[in-house]
């Protein structure tokens, strides 16, 4: 089915224009004046000879003197009887024929000369025009493409430029043509793709196009049947609403939403500010708007194309392929919504490079609202369609050298949404934060064929004072209930944001005099010392707070670096047992996928219970 849809798509490109030509010219044929299109506006029947049979010369006499014939026949030209001798007979009169003419009363041979051709033409013409020329021509002819015999073309000076064609052998009136007919002929040429003007619709190009078009229609037809079969044609006259129970990734209820039964789930969720990713806008081709419904919900071909059988059984579906009638509950795969989530307009107040590729961005909600959130939460930003550039405009001198090897690309991108974690930890203090802090890494393209991260580039190139829409806060990663258990934070790169938020929150709670005293360990990996985000802040914190332990780890340390050297997961593997008792520790992870999966595996081998490991995936 996917192949069929692809075929339909690409065939549309191949035959689309010709299809429109066929339809357009077809419509013209339907509407045109058939009388005019015949070219016979001024045609009339020539007068017949009043035959005196007694004056006719014996055919035998003529045949004895003439070249052999297939047929000798008495005809009438200019109201005079002639014998038409057919020496070679074509199957049709427009096929090759060989004729001669003899006067039927005198047996004098006759030929169609210019004077005769003019008279013959005139005998079939009832218009007011004058003959302006008479020319003997050989095939092929534009006006009469199928004709294979020599003809006289007699042109008239009338308002439609009539041409009368007279067979040069027999004197027969072959055809009348005029501007009206020539105009129609252009449409026939287009409809028949008869660009060689063979006067036929059996040319190679139309056969090729016809076959492609046949496949085009067939694929479209099957597609339509499939859509109908899947109940995608539904007419609902009332805007029925129904409740849809919404769940997050962990099957935690997010409450009930009103959705209209008419729209598909993708569009229905948008009405509640839940914008699932989608490039195709509901065509079922991009496969991004994934949700989890009941496993019994019918499977469309688009679902088949994007999920494994196992996933389908588990209820994974594309939201755009199903409507609210089909599901009673829906779980979001991509966690993004809590009851708190709301749409905000954020104004950029501060934008600064904190490492060669990472910027700290600070936003204020327009309208000076405070936003309450649990540390570790993220916001979903709506990136509008825009032009982008792969190298930020205002690079600090100190970091310029890191960007030397990056290709400077200008590009255009469509709207998309991106999640960024909050980096401040005061979201639960009093009324919440009125400033939102993010650390965003500008994602560079790994090679020329891929664009750089359009979301990160866009947001990092925002100017102070500019605004952007965001939905949130979305709390999918947060600290467990307050306890005395030690906490270990493990992260790298821009995984800093949620960890910093969580650490600040924990330390602030202690600061507020709660009777909690827990050890906090923070392992943070980076390449160089310059990549070490908020280095001074964390060193200061570790000096001030006896229970906070900071372990920066560099893979490319400078000379004289006294800390650990290598990859964070390797350092952890060899040292974790010496640092503390692992039992009862809560782990919080955020960083590149490989670091996370290796660390999780390491913790599992150390018999750490999975319930004590929380991680925030980001990409």
């Amino acid at each position: 089915m996917l192949l069929l849809k692809k075929l339909h798509k690409w065939l549309s490109l191949l035959v689309g224009l010709q299809l429109l030509l066929w339809l357009g010219t077809g419509l013209y044929f339907n509407l045109m004046d058939h009388e005019k299109a015949s070219g016979n506006q001024y045609r009339q029947r020539p007068a017949e000879a009043q035959l005196d049979i007694n004056k006719l010369v014996e055919p035998k006499l003529i045949l004895s003197k003439a070249k052999q014939v297939v047929s000798i026949k008495q005809i009438s030209l200019l109201a005079q009887p002639y014998y038409l001798l057919t020496h070679t007979k074509g199957l049709y009169s427009h096929f090759k024929n060989e004729y001669s003419l003899v006067d039927a009363y005198t047996a004098e041979p006759a030929i169609i000369d210019e004077a005769m051709a003019r008279k013959l033409a005139q005998s079939s013409y009832k218009g007011q025009g004058r003959v302006i020329s008479a020319t003997e021509l050989s095939p092929p002819y534009e006006d009469i493409p199928r004709e294979q015999n020599e003809v006289w073309q007699v042109n008239y000076a009338d308002e439609v430029n009539t041409s009368v064609y007279v067979d040069a052998g027999s004197g027969r009136i072959v055809k009348h043509s005029n501007d009206d007919k020539r105009f129609v002929d252009i449409f026939f040429m287009l409809h028949f793709m008869d660009y060689g003007t063979e006067g036929s619709f059996n040319n190679a190009q139309i056969i090729v196009f016809a076959i492609f078009t046949l496949f085009f229609s067939l694929t479209g037809f099957i597609w339509t049947i499939e859509l109908a079969f899947n109940g995608q044609y539904k007419v609902t006259f009332s805007n029925n609403k129904r409740k849809l129970a919404l769940f997050d990734k962990e099957q935690k209820s997010l409450g009930e939403f009103d959705v209209t039964t008419k729209t598909n789930l993708l569009d229905g969720l948008v009405e509640h500010d839940i914008a699932l990713p989608s490039n195709c806008g509901g065509g079922g081709t991009c496969g991004q708007c994934r949700v989890r419904l009941d496993g019994k919900v019918k499977v469309t071909s688009a679902d088949h194309a994007h999920f494994t059988d196992e996933q389908l059984q588990q209820g994974f579906r594309l939201a755009c392929q199903h409507d609210a009638m089909e599901a009673e509950k829906l779980a979001l795969i991509d966690t993004l919504v809590t009851n708190k989530a709301k749409k905000y307009l954020l104004e950029l107040t501060h934008s600064e490079f904190v490492s060669p590729f990472i910027k700290e961005l600070r936003f204020k909600p327009v309208g000076d609202e405070n936003i309450k959130f649990k540390a570790g939460a993220h916001m979903r930003f709506h990136i509008p369609p825009a032009k982008g550039i792969s190298i930020p405009s205002r690079l600090p001198d100190a970091f310029k050298r890191y960007w030397h090897d990056i290709e400077c690309l200008e590009y255009e991108h469509q709207a998309c949404s991106r999640n960024y974690s909050l980096a401040n930890g005061n979201g639960q203090i009093e009324d919440g934060a009125n400033e939102l802090v993010f650390t965003v890494k500008i994602q560079n393209a790994p090679n020329k064929t891929v664009l750089p991260g359009v979301g990160s580039s866009y947001i990092c190139n925002l100017e102070v004072g500019e605004t952007i829409e965001a939905v949130g806060p979305i709390e999918s990663f947060f600290a467990k209930e307050l306890s005395n258990k030690p906490m270990m934070f493990i992260g790298a790169g821009s995984g800093m944001a949620p960890l910093k938020s969580l650490i600040e929150e924990q330390l602030n709670l202690l600061h507020k005099g709660r009777k909690v005293n827990r050890d906090i360990y923070f392992f943070y990996g980076a390449r160089t010392e310059e990549d070490l985000l908020y280095k001074e802040d964390f060193f200061n914190l570790s000096r001030k707070k006896a229970n906070f332990h900071y372990y920066p780890i560099l893979s490319k340390p400078p000379e004289g670096w006294s800390g650990a050297k290598g990859y964070i997961q390797d350092i952890l593997a060899s040292n974790i047992d010496n640092i503390c008792q692992l039992k009862g520790i809560e782990f919080y992870l955020c960083g590149p996928a490989q670091m996370m999966s290796e660390t999780i595996n390491l913790l599992k081998t150390k018999n750490v219970d999975a319930s004590n490991i929380a991680f925030d995936e980001f990409n």
């Binding site: 339809l23 055919p59 339509t224 859509l227 806008g281 590009y411």
Partner: protein
């Protein structure tokens, strides 16, 4: 995105109603262009005989003929199978007489019609049945050539040779491919109702089809040229 969605919706809905006709148009169109029109006309079913008139065999002169048939018009001397004959019209009838002795050969009997049909037919199958049609001809035969003998042959595509009862001439040749072509043409121009010369049905179908195709074109544009984010590189320098 709005235009894309609207286009998809209209394309789908319109095609729900027009889809069958699109399929009919493309099947019938493909049939008509793939089969050579001369073959469809049955040109290969017949032999274009070029037997010449032997003047010495004309022993029945025009002088005698005009005594017998004073109203003869459009007189021709031709070959019918293997005999030299006069063909002419008399009032509104057509007559064939032998040029040797003036024996009247028309109207043709069934056996003569079969003999003539076999002469014209290029295949080697046998005539399976013969029938004289004097009125209400089948679609494949023009009423102008009536009365005519319909001679069916046992051959590929069920060929039929029509021989004029009055002249003995070949007046039509048809086989299944022509009959299918005729059906295809009717389907192609949606000629379902004989009484509707302006063919309103075709008009409305074509009009809506153009609309549906334009929506399809918008879809193609979005899906092919503005595909996947439609994040396009505008230019680059290092």
């Amino acid at each position: 995105m709005k235009l894309l969605k609207t286009s998809r919706k209209f394309h789908r809905w319109l095609m729900l109603f027009l889809g069958v006709q699109f399929l009919i148009w493309s099947v019938s169109g493909a049939y008509m262009v793939i089969f050579d029109i001369d073959y469809i006309h049955g040109d290969s079913l017949v032999v274009n005989h070029q037997t010449k008139v032997d003047a010495n065999k004309i022993t029945y002169p025009l002088a005698l003929l005009r005594q017998e048939y004073p109203d003869a018009q459009n007189i021709a001397v031709e070959v019918f199978i293997d005999q030299v004959v006069y063909r002419f019209s008399e009032n509104d009838k057509k007559v064939v007489v032998n040029a040797i002795d003036g024996e009247k050969l028309s109207p043709l009997s069934a056996n003569e019609a079969i003999k003539a049909a076999k002469h014209y037919y290029s295949g080697d199958g046998d005539a399976t049945d013969v029938e004289l049609i004097t009125e209400n001809p089948p679609i494949e035969l023009s009423s102008r050539v009536l009365p005519a003998w319909r001679v069916n042959f046992d051959g590929f595509g069920n060929p039929t040779i029509y021989v004029s009862e009055q002249t003995g001439k070949l007046v039509s040749k048809r086989h299944e491919f022509w009959r299918i072509f005729d059906l295809m043409f009717s389907l192609h121009v949606m000629d379902y109702e004989e009484e509707d010369p302006s063919n309103q049905l075709l008009f409305w179908f074509t009009l809506f089809s153009i609309l549906a195709s334009l929506f399809g074109a918008v879809l193609s544009y979005f899906v092919i040229f503005k595909r996947s984010n439609s994040n396009t590189i505008l230019g680059g320098t290092k």
